[in-house]
């Protein structure tokens, strides 16, 4: 019955042709604005040096070449610390940071979303407010703490603080509020499941899209880290740092710079695409409609 009223033919009753057209137009305009600079960035990476300095400049490459990438790899091979080491450093920091943050933040988010206990509101307010305080002035106290814990010049100086990253927790709490039904938790409790089991076996599978989204956010944040104020040893530095050093060689490195930009851009995009396909998969199968 409801279906009949809801759809006219294949279209929902609340939709109109005019509206669909306007939306299509908006999407096409938005998409071109977003895509053109990206196309420019990609095509630049394949331009030989004489095309990078061409008048009038062109959006698209004419004689694509892989020279920029070749030069980049030659420069990488000449580096004092082997490139593979920088790559390992970056991966280690990203993966450890990600696992810790997703796990600890989800635990806390579950308690904040589904338990009632004194202090919960204050804690949540502090989380929200902490997002609004400038990080730069907290660097000094953080340096002192990290030095006191003996973590300067270790991966942990970046990894452990990232476990307490608040954005993910706030996100997770919102998802748990709206996706997880209290009745489901009650039912599991009656079945005698422990709180941790409920969290791990009931709640976490439901909010899979949430922690997949969270992984993207943390990846993005940690992927760009250079080790900043806490890592000084050259062999512990990360890939973005190493690539920055290569590009800092001036105008002659412009082609290499374009190749580097593309490289640094491709990896998060690949992670994102892989991640999204998982999200779409869960959305399709788990049937959020129940």
């Amino acid at each position: 019955m409801a279906r009949k009223k809801f759809y006219v033919g294949k279209r929902r009753i609340s939709r109109s042709t005019g509206g669909d057209l306007v939306i299509l137009l908006l999407l096409v305009m938005g998409a071109s604005f977003m895509a053109l600079p990206m196309v420019f960035a990609i095509s630049n990476a394949f331009k030989p040096l004489n095309e990078l300095f061409l008048f009038p400049p062109r959006l698209f490459v004419r004689n694509p070449t892989l020279n920029n990438f070749r030069d980049l790899f030659i420069l990488m091979a000449k580096s004092w610390v082997p490139m593979s080491r920088y790559i390992f450093n970056s991966l280690f920091i990203v993966i450890m940071g990600m696992l810790g943050n997703v796990f600890f933040a989800s635990l806390a988010a579950y308690a904040l979303s589904k338990h009632k206990f004194p202090g919960a509101r204050v804690f949540l307010t502090m989380i929200v407010f902490s997002l609004m305080f400038a990080r730069e002035v907290t660097n000094i106290p953080n340096y002192i703490t990290i030095a006191y814990l003996g973590m300067i010049d270790t991966y942990w100086s970046v990894i452990i603080p990232s476990w307490g990253s608040t954005l993910g927790l706030y996100l997770m709490k919102n998802f748990m509020d709206s996706m997880v039904d209290d009745s489901m938790i009650e039912a599991s409790k009656i079945d005698g499941a422990s709180e941790f089991r409920i969290f791990w076996n009931v709640v976490m599978p439901i909010v899979k899209p949430a922690w997949l989204t969270m992984i993207i956010l943390i990846f993005q944040e940690l992927w760009r880290t250079t080790g900043g104020n806490f890592i000084y040893a050259e062999h512990l530095k990360t890939l973005p740092y190493a690539l920055d050093q290569i590009v800092a060689g001036g105008v002659a490195r412009q082609g290499v710079g374009a190749a580097t930009t593309l490289l640094m851009m491709i990896i998060p995009i690949v992670v994102f695409v892989f991640n999204q396909s998982k999200i779409v998969e869960t959305m399709g199968t788990s049937g959020l409609a129940n």
Binding site: K5, F6, R12, I13, S14, G19, I23, L26, G30, A31, M34, P37, M38, A41, F53, F55, P56, P57, F104, L107, A108, A111, H115, F117, P118, F123, I127, V128, S130, M132, F133, A134, E136, V137, T138, I140, P141, T145, I160, P161, W163, T166, Y170, L171, N174, F175, D177, S178, M179, A210, T213, W223, M265, P268, I269, F272, Q276, S277, V280, A289
Partner: protein, 311 residues
């Protein structure tokens, strides 16, 4: 009644009740503990310390010296560059904040009903600029000041201008260009979260709405979708507020620091100037505190506005 004996007894009861309450909820506290300890050590504590430092003169070599409200007085009465930064930041935030927030929601909403594959493709297209690290630096080639810049080159070639325009150095254009670039990369976190949120809304809600007499997209959006999205909307608002009020990095990389005539100087850049270049940590902390309260105030206002959604 004997007040003296009742008071301590009541006190004791209150303490005992407190302990009992903690015991009852110990599982909740255990769940929060690992995150809470790290959060407290690396966020809450440093924030409190720098709030304290904002009342001191601290050059990072000598121990901090207490100066009372001096830093704040200096900020608002003596530091003209700061006032300029406030003006710029407010202008910048007033434009990029609401626009990026709206863009995130509108595009998430528009692509929500498309077929999964098309949706995934468009999500990637819209999200790519914000995820791909320094890709926004491509705009410095587009707006490059010499003849090799894409815009300059094209305009020169077409004969619209006869000498290159210094897009990123001329104060007349700088702010506009910064805003364009920032909007380009603004479909980030909130955009993703909105998409996930919209996907999570139960289809049956709309079927029920259709029976209740919802006739078009707008009614559906206002009465069904937005109220359902309230939590996510607040989340997006907070991101928009923090991004727009605390802008610095992108601006510095686009137009340099300091920008010509301080035309793009923001509060956050001012803080950076004093914190990491002039090593006046006390003063930098007072800037952070002012910025913090500005954001909190804005967040409160937005909260009030969002409470009206769907009514």
């Amino acid at each position: 009644m004997n007040n003296i004996s009742i008071l301590p007894k009541g006190e004791l009861n209150r303490f005992q009740r407190f302990i009992n309450e903690i015991k009852q909820n110990r599982i909740s506290y255990l769940f929060i503990a690992p995150f809470g300890i790290i959060f407290f050590t690396f966020t809450v504590l440093p924030v409190l310390i720098s709030m304290g430092l904002s009342f001191t003169y601290f050059n990072m070599l000598q121990p901090p010296k207490w100066v009372g409200w001096q830093n704040y007085i200096r900020l608002f009465l003596e530091d003209e560059v700061f006032l300029l930064a406030v003006k710029n930041t407010l202008l910048y935030a007033a434009i990029t904040g609401p626009l990026s927030y709206l863009a995130c929601f509108v595009f998430a909403w528009l692509i929500n009903e498309l077929r999964p594959r098309v949706r995934a493709f468009l999500t990637l297209l819209f999200y790519a600029p914000s995820i791909s690290g320094n890709a926004y630096m491509i705009w410095t080639l587009i707006f490059n000041g010499d003849t090799y810049g894409l815009i300059n080159g094209t305009l020169l070639y077409w004969g619209i201008i006869d000498k290159p325009i210094q897009w990123l150095i001329d104060p007349r254009y700088m702010m506009t260009i910064v805003i364009i670039v920032v909007l380009w990369m603004s479909l980030g976190t909130s955009f993703l979260v909105f998409i996930a949120g919209l996907q999570g809304i139960d289809e049956r809600l709309y079927e029920a709405g259709a029976i209740d007499g919802i006739r078009n997209r707008w009614q559906e959006l206002w009465y069904l979708t937005l109220p359902e999205m309230r939590g996510y909307l607040m989340f997006g608002a907070i991101i928009a507020i923090t991004n727009s009020f605390a802008a610095a990095n992108e601006i510095t990389r686009l137009v340099g620091f300091p920008s010509t005539d301080y035309a793009c100087h923001t509060i956050m850049q001012h803080l950076h100037d004093y914190g990491t270049i002039r090593f006046e940590m006390g003063y930098a902390s007072s800037i952070a505190v002012v910025l913090f309260f500005t954001m909190v105030l804005t967040q409160r206002i937005v909260q009030k506005l969002l409470d009206k959604v769907g009514q």
